[in-house]
């Protein structure tokens, strides 16, 4: 099964071979989960989005024409579902620092070291979570997934020029937010 390309597996699913879709899920579940996780900000929602993305992909496999790669099509579904999930809930109420820190704390590690590491990570995650949804999606795909602008343009169906601007503004905002965090933290220490 491993040697088959995505398109071959898609064709097999269309021919009724359900196991081929399980193979596609196995290939992409981690990436889909992490995209969702970084956009929605929580494991529970990311888990749900990942499942929804695969279900939607399976049910709409007939609409997939192979014009773009299967993963591009799947990413598009996942990003759209993630953004919908973000819209549905109240971000401000959900993203309390304590919640995120608790989620990020590894279980079997020195709590102080873990807290320090989690705190920096939390700052970045918090900053990403405060971005406008479009910039957040672009940032996640570019910064975490390492996708090219052309690939992101296919996923989000937008122009490369607009994406570059979105990514740049996202980075600027994150930088400012993190600087503010550091400054306010230093102010509290004194």
């Amino acid at each position: 099964m491993e040697s088959h390309s995505d398109l071959e597996l898609v064709q097999q699913v269309r021919n009724g071979k359900r196991q081929a879709f399980t193979e596609l899920m196995r290939r992409y579940q981690e990436r889909i989960y992490w995209i969702a996780r970084r956009i929605v900000g929580s494991h529970e929602e990311a888990d749900d989005v990942a499942q929804e993305a695969f279900i939607k992909a399976y049910l709409n496999l007939g609409d997939f024409r192979g014009e773009s790669g299967f993963y591009t099509w799947l990413y598009r579904i996942a990003v759209n579902l993630s953004l919908n999930a973000v819209r549905k809930r109240q971000v401000v109420n959900y993203l309390r620092e304590s919640d995120i820190i608790n989620r990020l704390l590894p279980q079997s590690e020195d709590p102080v070291a873990a807290f320090e590491r989690a705190e920096v990570h939390t700052r970045l995650e918090l900053a990403v979570a405060k971005l406008p949804e479009k910039q957040r999606a672009v940032f996640v795909l570019r910064f975490y997934e390492g996708m090219t602008y052309e690939e992101i343009a296919q996923v989000l169906k937008t122009s490369v020029g607009g994406l570059k601007a979105n990514f740049f503004h996202a980075m600027k905002k994150i930088q400012e937010m993190m600087k503010d965090e550091v400054a306010s933290g230093a102010g509290e220490d004194t």
């Binding site: 990942a50 590894p106 939390t122 607009g162 570059k164 979105n166 980075m171």
Partner: protein
């Protein structure tokens, strides 16, 4: 989804510098807490279960829509369109007979009328066309009679007065 187009030019060096700064900050946070291995297998199982649950109902819906609903709607619409454009024209029978009579050559109408009179029935044209169907002017009568009849027999059947009237009429024409 509409994406606002922000088409300003950003130098690549500036973008790269900013990105590396953020990556350094992100790297300082250490590795992302790993998701336990069994979670992935579990995710596949749970997703497959949900696909089974959704696709069983959806299968019926799709097959019903594809095999019954869509062809049914198309058939009804086609029928209505056909009915609108290709329905036979329904005129009243009287109109049709009148149309046929009007289209017949004069001689055919005359023969029909003559047959009917000989049989002793009412002239059908009178029934259909009304009381004025046989009201003809003298001029029409004369023209018809001269055109259809034998002039020799006509003259023989006329008396002196009649001949002089015919001659006078012809002199006027």
């Amino acid at each position: 989804m509409k994406w606002r187009q922000e088409q300003e030019k950003i130098p690549e060096s500036v973008e790269r510098e900013l990105e590396s700064e953020l990556r350094a900050l992100d790297a300082g946070s250490g590795p992302v807490p790993p998701v336990p291995g069994p979670y992935w297998q579990n995710l596949i199982v749970r997703t497959n279960k949900r696909i089974d649950a959704v696709s069983s109902g959806r299968g019926i819906t799709i097959s019903w829509a594809a095999r019954v609903a869509i062809p049914g709607v198309v058939a009804v619409i086609s029928f209505l369109i056909g009915l609108h454009y290709y329905a036979p024209e329904t005129g009243s029978p009287t109109d049709s007979v009148l149309t046929i009579i009007a289209a017949l050559p004069d001689q055919a109408v005359d023969s029909l009328l003559a047959d009917r009179v000989l049989l002793g029935g009412e002239p059908p044209a009178k029934e259909l066309l009304g009381e004025k169907a046989f009201e003809v002017s003298k001029e029409q009568f004369s023209e018809y009679f001269i055109a259809q009849g034998s002039s020799q027999k006509l003259l023989e059947s006329l008396d002196e007065k009649g001949v002089s009237q015919v001659m006078a009429y012809l002199a006027v024409r």
